[in-house]
Subunit: 211 residues, 2 copies
């Protein structure tokens, strides 16, 4: 059965992006540090078209597992980028001509756009809401799981709708002191710890959402 | 060397107490669930004068270790209780005649009060600030560590002053959706993961504060 999952890096004080995001610094001040644990991993670098990197550590295994599980990704308009309002179709995402997903991606937006086929990844723009995006992503995932990529608002929408099955939080050992909170407007709620993986760089905790 | 440490249970969304605390429910709505992992442990029940309980699991070991490390505790006025303003000296804390600390406790307050000696624990009321409380607690800890008990405001004061050495966060698998945030007004800051202990009930992460 295809599950709806989410993998996200969060600071210990609950932020998934720092304050004052800009076009040059889309994760806000200090937000890059959330993902510091991943940048050196071969399993992160390879889908991003970069060579080298470390392997054989718990972080690398977690990253490989996350990549292998997902058959489709759902993301919000801002994660795809290109500003607000009707599309400037010259914007083709942040990731260059070969995006790191290598599976179908569904972008939630209020503004229609034709599907965008890139090397290994086709972006489909969904204007009729989170349930429709989930249905389309499930059909496209070929039996694998559907991942909610972010940002926080989209994750919150799926949590509030009771549609998320699993949530893996990579708790980064930093305090950002401000920014975008992962759980704004969600809860009270209960989770069930599925697994905790220790690493010197980050703490990986996988939860099942209790409904 | 005596270190300043803090052990605290926090919800995954960053709260150490739920919304709307009252005298009957000092941890706010749902706040009791933060400590659910501890209530059944023999190592929690024994210092609280309760018999029975589970043992031999990671949570029990963490609790025993925490109890053994601390030679003195510093807490805020609200954690000791009894309302705001000048002391009603009939208030002798929440814990009955044998408080669970069994070591000297220093209560930060703006209102002077004579030391209060109870079974196994003497409460000293400190009106000249967090550094004075730390100095007095260090002298009283007999070579063991000094624990900051809480609440959040006091922990934040010690963090902002750069006085906290270690912070162990027990991340409870719940979202409270509101209440008192552990890290309000703290950060940006970096931590170093010292150790992560997995349990089905809670995730124990010990951090060293980087200065």
């Amino acid at each position: 059965m295809t599950e709806l999952t989410c993998d996200i890096s969060m600071s210990l004080d609950g932020f998934v992006a720092g304050p004052d995001p800009t076009l040059e610094q889309p994760l806000g001040e200090g937000g890059d540090r959330l993902h510091q644990w991943a940048y050196d991993l071969e399993t992160w670098r390879e889908p991003h078209g970069l060579s080298g990197g470390t392997s054989g550590n718990p972080d690398a295994e977690i990253m490989a597992e996350t990549v292998a599980r997902a058959g489709a990704t759902i993301m919000g308009r801002r994660m795809f980028g290109g500003g607000d309002g009707p599309w400037d179709e010259s914007w083709r995402g942040w990731w260059g001509e070969e995006p790191p997903f290598h599976h179908p991606v569904f972008v939630l937006t209020h503004h229609p756009r034709e599907p965008l086929a890139m090397e290994g990844t086709t972006f489909t723009f969904v204007t009729d809401g989170i349930e429709s995006a989930l249905e389309q992503a499930r059909a496209a995932a070929a039996g694998r799981d559907v991942a909610v990529g972010g940002g926080a608002e989209i994750i919150q929408q799926y949590l509030r709708a009771g549609l998320l099955d699993e949530l893996q939080v990579h708790v980064a050992p930093i305090l950002l002191g401000g920014g975008t909170r992962l759980f704004d407007g969600v809860g009270p709620a209960s989770l069930e710890i599925v697994r905790t993986v220790e690493s010197p760089a980050v703490t990986h905790i996988r939860y099942r959402v209790v409904r």
